[in-house]
Amino acid sequence: MAIDTLKCVGCGDCVVACQTENEVPIGFCRDWVVEVTDGTYPQLEIEIRSERCNHCENSPCVRCCPTGASHYAEGGIVLVTQNKCIGCGACIASCPYDARYSHPKGYVDKCTFCIHRVKKGLDPACVAVCPTRCMYFGDLDDPKSPVSMVLKNRKYKTLIPEAGTKPHLYFLI
């Protein structure tokens, strides 16, 4: 997934849409919006990022899961099998992005890239709802997918690349 920080206005639509689409309980969120302000008035700059699980290629959460509940699914999407999860919290502690949370029902939950929608050929809920259309989703291996196209033409960054997780969430800057 790629998100254009130059267009994002930080409205939080992605958060609400994800909450209703995936029936995330109130008080929990799978994605969130960060606002970074640099500088001194009036020389200022803002970066707004909509963050979520990065579905890392070298994800510490899959590595540390003792039961294999955290696993790589098709397309490199990282998922949690709810009835294999024992709720030990190791994956939560292992995520440098703090992307996971403990669902009230006991298992660990996080962004799933709306895999139930992706399977039907739709975009994840956050991408589909964003009013500024600043979010792009697709197959990184396909050079014609919206994500590949936009990464070809724009400068981008990932979060904490030095943590070695190889995240798949790119922020266009």
């Binding site: 969120c29 606002e35 039961t67 009835n83 709720g87 703090d98 403990s102």
Partner: protein, 313 residues
């Protein structure tokens, strides 16, 4: 000035405002596991060296409490799980990359062995103990025959038990405070040191106590060295590690760590044991209890402080 805030109101329970997914259950288990590992290690080691009679408490008496410790520890772990009914999933697979998986299986080996070791030595403390059923008596005899191989297995697995808790925490590179390879050896040495202290507490043999006091002194010295090394490593590392170290060098955990763990849990008992070796009369249980207390505090502080240390925001 840099202002970095979450503007969509994220306040996930156990995650915000800072990670607090693990509470007293985990440090309690880590402590009990380390203590059990220490006692078992010394028990098996001295048995294999043929010093069973010389160090009776170490080999025969102290291990009696280990099953209780392990069961309490496992119970604490179970309490910590948030999806308790599915705990058995742990035993459907071995995941070599997950230290927690090793831990689950190690406990699966060590706990029964500790029960067996305790069982065959029950008569040392309860001389009138009688197994009543013949098949139990046969079982006991069987295990006594294989005591040596069992001891070898116990030596190896108790080391794994002692070190894996540290390795488990150090594998979380998301928590800079834990992400150091010193944590494994530190927990191992700490566990053994608390084990030695426990043996001192139970022992009534002055020579045994003296030996273990010397062992404990050595282990404390190693532990202090490792702690200094730990901080040197942090301060020479990246910014997040420096921030993690600063939690203990002026940050909120400074007083608890240096007072409870280093002073009361390591330096003071070491001093007392030196004094004892120099023939001053010190009640023997004081340094032992302090060491055990220090071990418990070390784990509590590391687990709680580690969850505060982070990469982002």
């Amino acid at each position: 000035m840099r202002e970095e805030i979450i503007v969509s109101g994220r306040m996930n329970p156990f995650i915000d405002p800072h990670l607090n997914i693990w509470h007293w259950q985990i440090p309690t288990y880590l402590f009990l596991g380390g203590l059990a590992a220490g006692i078992l290690f010394f028990a098996a080691l001295f048995y294999l060296q043929g010093k069973e009679e010389k160090y009776r408490t170490a080999v025969r008496v102290a291990p009696l409490i280990v099953p209780i410790l392990l069961v309490l520890g496992l119970f604490a772990l179970l309490l910590d799980l948030k999806h308790k009914l599915y705990f058995w999933q742990l035993y459907t697979t071995i995941r070599l990359e997950s230290p927690m998986s090793w831990g689950a299986w190690t406990l699966m080996v060590v706990t029964p062995l500790s029960f067996i070791w305790a069982a065959i030595h029950l008569r040392d403390v309860f001389p009138k103990w009688d197994w009543k059923y013949q098949w139990l008596k046969d079982l006991e005899a069987f295990f006594i025959r294989y005591k040596r191989p069992m001891a070898w297995v116990i030596v190896i697995f108790s080391v794994i038990l002692g070190v894996y808790t540290g390795i488990l925490l150090s594998a979380f590179n998301a928590r800079p405070l834990w992400n150091t390879s010193i944590l494994g050896p530190l927990f191992l040495v700490s566990g053994f040191s608390t084990g030695a202290a426990a043996i001192i507490l139970f022992s009534k043999n002055p020579e045994e106590r003296k030996t273990f006091a010397k062992i404990d002194l050595l282990l404390i010295a190693v532990e202090l060295f490792l702690i200094i090394h730990l901080f040197m490593g942090f301060l020479a590392s990246t910014q997040v590690q420096i921030d993690a170290a600063n939690l203990f060098l002026g940050g909120p955990y400074t007083a608890p760590f240096w007072i409870l763990v280093v002073t009361m849990g390591l330096a003071v008992p070491a001093l007392l044991e030196v004094l004892e070796l120099l023939k001053y009369r010190i009640p023997v249980y004081i340094p032992a209890i302090l060491v055990i207390f220090g071990g418990l505090m070390l784990r509590f502080i590391i687990v709680y402080a580690g969850q505060v240390s982070r990469w982002m925001y």
